[in-house]
């Protein structure tokens, strides 16, 4: 079920907005014009936007206003884009980051 707040007791009802299709990790999602990547994915129930580059632990939004960079994702091949600051556009291709090798770490993930 969508978590969008279409009707609000003080702010009123949302106006008709254009629906946009975009991809996250290969799956197709719908966003509405004016929604950030973080907002559209949260509305669809997606909370994990990336994994920690070393431990693989799941991460999502934290500050939602661009300060913390916890929501960094790849957008159309560009890394370190903040999902909370970036509006969805039609056909946008978003991917979560993955675990990176740490070959220099003692006893670490050298593969």
């Amino acid at each position: 079920m969508s978590q969008r707040i279409f009707h609000h007791p003080v702010l009123g009802s949302m106006e008709e907005r254009t629906a946009l299709q975009f991809q996250f990790n290969g799956a197709v999602y719908t966003a509405y014009e004016g929604e950030t990547i973080a907002g559209a994915l949260l509305a669809a129930g997606v909370r994990t936007l990336r994994v920690h580059e070393e431990t693989g632990a799941p991460r999502g939004i934290y500050c939602n206003i661009g300060h913390c960079y916890e929501c960094r994702v790849h957008v159309d091949g560009i890394p370190t884009v903040r999902a909370c600051m970036t509006l969805v556009t039609e056909g946008m291709c978003v991917t979560a980051g993955s675990v990176l090798p740490t070959p220099l770490k003692k006893g670490g993930h050298a593969k």
């Binding site: 978590q3 969008r4 707040i5 279409f6 609000h8 007791p9 003080v10 702010l11 949302m14 929604e35 950030t36 973080a38 907002g39 949260l42 509305a43 909370r47 994990t48 936007l49 920690h52 632990a57 799941p58 991460r59 999502g60 939004i61 934290y62 500050c63 939602n64 206003i65 661009g66 300060h67 913390c68 916890e70 909370c84 600051m85 970036t86 509006l87």
Partner: protein, 401 residues
């Protein structure tokens, strides 16, 4: 080249741009967010007179007014450096470099992070994140949540969440630590809440807050604080419960809590697990002033204003030539104060350019800042006026050096 560059399209930056543009200056604003308004955007609360403060509507009004005056507003642009070259300021942004002789930094505030074990789990976010998601993005952050950190901001936003149909189970304290400091001590929270208790809808709490003026009464109230919490502004506030850990595997599943002593120490054998699918951490606000530091502005550490603030005088001018500040970068106060400070900064910059036809406009605007501060329904700190006085004295001393 513009006469004035403004960093930050929040209440202060927009108001400054409007004031300066009215006097004939050409103004450009840059902001990192995808739309103007800054922290106005999430704000939604009922004033004591029953009128709703709708930050979205205020932001739209300021945006329209600024654009009508020819102000150029560039959103989605990040500023990463400021340098002095010749007699101008040069800002380096993700869209290129811009120069002007007058620069206003109105970057506002950021939320203090309060680390709690488990806080990196998806579903844990700052209280401001939940506010923006709810009121700006219009997406629910979850079904049932716990707010860690009891302060005026967290109580206000918890109400906004309830308004949007998001259930807030409890507001509790962070675990006592070096980082959480006073925010983990029930005594201190009681003291700070009493400052705003006159706003409470319940006459019992309003009356109670008057009776609780003495320190021993406050101690007594904390000692006997009901284990079920109290409903203050219709919010379930638990002053004697603290978070120990946020639990979950791939996302938030709950918060492990314990009853705490009036000093904030966990009481053995009182642990509980509150199921929740989201958690908001509320650490309070502090001025977001890195860019002023990069510019080389001297600072003062003033806890009453929320932390380190760039030195500035009553004209919102820093000791550096052509560099101005306004809004929460100068101290944590309401958006209304930020707007009035912005107007002062805008008029000051017009005066510095020799374009201010009527100097009384500036003195009136300065008076207005004081008036708005005095009439503020919410005082973020009891010593704001004294803190501002101190910064002004330090700025004067610096300039006289």
């Amino acid at each position: 080249m513009n006469d004035v560059l403004v960093i930050g399209a929040g209440p202060a930056g927009l108001s400054a741009a409007i004031a300066a543009a009215r006097q004939g200056l050409s103004v450009k604003i840059v902001d990192e967010f995808y739309r103007p308004g800054g922290r106005l955007l999430g704000q939604l609360h009922e004033e004591p007179d029953g009128v709703w403060w709708n930050g979205l509507a205020e932001a739209a009004r300021l945006d329209q007014e600024a654009r009508a005056l020819g102000v150029n507003i560039s959103c989605g642009v990040s500023v990463y450096d400021i340098a002095r070259c010749d007699d101008r300021w040069r800002i380096s942004t993700t869209e290129g470099e811009w120069e002007s002789s007058l620069l206003l930094i109105a970057t506002g505030a950021s939320e203090a992070a309060v680390p709690v074990p488990g806080w990196t789990l998806p579903g844990v976010m700052s209280i401001g994140a939940a506010q923006v998601m709810t009121n700006v993005q219009r997406v629910r952050v979850g079904k049932k949540g716990v707010v860690i950190g009891v302060n005026i901001l967290s109580v206000a936003i918890a109400r906004e969440l309830q308004l949007a149909g998001v259930h807030v189970e409890q507001l509790i304290l962070p675990p006592l630590s070096e980082v959480s400091g006073k925010a983990g001590r029930p005594h201190e929270i009681m003291r700070s809440l009493l400052r705003v208790a006159h706003l409470a809808p319940s006459p019992v709490i309003r009356l109670g807050s008057k009776l609780m003026g003495s320190a021993w009464m406050q101690r007594l109230a904390v000692a006997f604080f009901p284990s079920k919490g109290v409903r203050m502004w219709d919010m379930p506030i638990h002053l004697r419960t603290a978070a120990l850990e946020i639990v979950g595997t791939s996302q938030v599943e709950g918060v492990r809590t314990a009853r705490v002593t009036p000093e904030g120490l966990p009481i053995p054998g009182t642990e509980q697990l509150i199921p929740a699918d989201f958690v908001c951490i509320a650490g309070g606000l502090s001025p977001l002033a890195e860019l002023a530091a990069i510019a080389g502005c001297p600072f003062a550490y003033v806890p009453a204003l929320g932390g380190h603030v760039p030195l500035h005088d009553e004209y919102m001018k820093t000791p550096l030539p052509g560099l101005y500040v306004a809004g929460n970068i100068t101290g944590i106060e309401s958006a209304k104060v930020a707007m009035s400070q912005g107007t002062v900064a805008g008029l000051s910059m017009a005066q510095a350019s020799g374009l201010l036809a009527d100097d009384s406009l500036l003195s009136q605007a300065q008076l207005q800042v004081k008036r708005v501060r005095q009439n503020a329904t919410i005082q973020f700190h009891p010593d704001i006026a004294a803190g501002r006085e101190l910064v002004g004295q330090m700025a004067a001393a610096w300039t006289a050096r």
